[in-house]
Symmetry: C2
DNA sequence: CTGCGGAACTTAAGCGCTTTAGTGGGAAGG
DNA sequence: CCTTCCCACTAAAGCGCTTAAGTTCCGCAG
């Protein structure tokens, strides 16, 4: 097992009969070499399958060729939602063609997440980061600009000045399309089984539901930790009441499926006696019986958009205009109907 | 936004009144510094929140502090199965304490995967890789040793000499526990809706099923691309026959849920008229109605074990003994029963 | 008292790249 | 014919670390 000698910029330079500097210029598309020479160099590089060492690049303070993604969620519940994997897969698809890698790390608190960003910055380990689950008064949103770390936030909104650019999910509109639909069906008592209250989208959705009181719709919000177990418990207590809600909306598809099961166990017929819907879609949501009415978002596309946006920003840190991420749609399936 | 000057090994050396080399020795636990000095250096480092730049380390050929994970599956179906996310989450949990990051990249062919490994090696970008879905005659298994790239294979078996170490999932036993269970219930006609035939586990499971003919069990295998759509189609044609199988086993939970739905649509009662089971468990598998009998594997633990094993191997490349990864168990739920 | 071995450090080279400050030569301008 | 300028390119200095090859110095055997 001889130590495979790697080809370096010097080798390419020698082969092309130029200096390593010239190769660097050619590679990075900067002036200093003639078009003809550039082509020759690039050809030789390709022919010898040479790619610049990302370590060396990162060391001199140029691009690391990596973007970072710190996920702050309990590790064991990550797999339950398809959201992450879809998001990651989408981001990857956008990164792959640019030969950019994604570094993922699980953290267990916002503080740890911030520390991770600092570490990444000081070692020049990543060129930018994707941030999810923005909170009200989010420390991360202050740290990132301070570190001059390109970032894109996927979430409800941001856009105070000096905050990282964000892909803005119009959670208000999303909430409207679902809750309004239920109201229009005739539901006058709607329960919303939400995730942790500190997430911005939870607050937004809650506000929309409560705004429906103007239309004689009684909305009730239950905060949970987003676990299926919590969803089951909540559902059980909701259905044990003398006056049940006629529709229950869950924050994500797994919770909704858990809720659905409870309803079935308790002999409550869906959608005849109870409508169920979810703010997240997934393959299984359309596969269970009855299939679930959901807000369908192109999570894959969202990940791709976020990654693309991030790359743009790494290239031109000035441009900070927010973006709207895809248009979520209401997918009506079998689990919702007019109340009796 | 002044350019935040980063603290380097030289700063720490100066503060400790030693040379950078000494700091390096202290940091990496090698001889050359007294225990007393080592402590002092380490204290100062911590106090100034210094961590060595992984780029610089990687450049000199030492550890990159990153392990790689190239996933060769269609991007859009990744999210459907919880398997990946769980695996990744588990790996992360094992890596986090060692401050090792994981780099993930999606590839679309084995060739691309191999190319990725080569690139990683030549840029010293990762210290080792996790490989999944071993195939018969797998080119990856030959390339990795050639690259001297530490690797652990998660899969059915490997262990020809000169192949990377593997965490061995006893798919034979797994298949036995499920198929035997069904046979014991009295099923004499079992269909197995499998994934792509080139995966080793597919073959192993198939063999086990066919071995059951000795017990008068007629086994039938249908290869698919693992998509829920294929599962639905297969299920429909299976149930349209004059003589239906009395039990259908799916390669993963999403497929099983898709199959379940088809049965329900066609008015076939599960488990009274038909038993359904899956080789993969997930949260939702226990949540659908009827809940699914599954092989339950601690995927999270598997990821953690794989990552840990990989780290060991990076430290001591000689030790190559295979490992057995967790003990999968049969989780009997509502979807299986004795045939009429 | 000499010599020698080893522990505790220091020196300095070098990993593969980027980048700033040149250098040389040809074309344009006087 | 000489100057000036620009273009295409070279030279060389690092980036932050590791490591092989010293250098000191101290204790101890002879």
């Amino acid at each position: 097992m001889s130590k495979a000698k790697r080809v370096t910029i010097t080798d390419i330079a020698r082969l092309a009969g130029v200096s390593p500097g010239a190769v660097s210029f050619a590679l990075n598309g900067r002036p200093g070499v003639s078009e003809q020479t550039r082509r020759r160099i690039l050809d030789i590089a390709e022919q010898h399958q040479w790619e610049p060492s990302s370590a060396a690049r990162a060391l001199v303070g140029a691009r690391a060729g990596v973007i970072g993604f710190a996920v702050n969620r309990p590790a064991d519940t990550l797999g339950a939602e398809a959201f992450f994997t879809d998001l990651i897969a989408g981001a990857q698809s956008a990164l792959a063609e640019h030969r950019i890698a994604m570094q993922m790390v699980l953290v267990s608190s916002v503080e740890e997440e911030v520390a991770t960003y600092r570490r990444w910055r000081s070692a020049n380990q990543v060129d930018g980061v994707i941030v999810i689950d923005p909170r009200d008064d989010d420390p991360r949103l202050a740290v990132l600009p301070e570190l001059a770390m390109p970032a894109v936030v996927i979430g409800s909104r941001s856009s105070e000045d000096g905050q990282p650019a964000s892909i803005w999910l119009d959670d208000g509109q999303v909430a409207h399309s679902l809750f309004d639909y239920l109201a229009a069906l005739g539901h006058r008592s709607i329960a919303y089984v939400a995730g942790p209250a500190e997430f911005q989208h939870t607050r937004l959705r809650t506000e929309v539901l409560q705004g429906l009181s103007a239309r004689d719709v009684a909305g009730e919000v239950v905060s949970t930790d987003s676990s299926p177990a919590a969803a089951s418990d909540t559902m059980r207590s909701l259905l044990s009441r003398p006056r049940r809600p006629s529709a229950v909306v869950f924050d994500n598809d797994v919770m909704a499926i858990a809720g659905l099961r409870v309803a079935q166990e308790m002999g409550v017929s869906v959608p005849a006696d109870l409508s169920i819907a979810s703010f997240d879609d997934s393959v299984v949501a359309g596969l269970v019986h009855p299939s679930l009415t959901c807000i369908t978002r192109d999570t894959f596309g969202l990940g791709a958009a976020a990654a693309g946006f991030l790359l743009e920003q790494i290239d031109a840190p000035e441009v900070l205009a927010d973006r709207v991420g895809g248009l979520p749609q209401l997918t009506v399936r079998e689990s919702t109907a007019a109340p009796r």
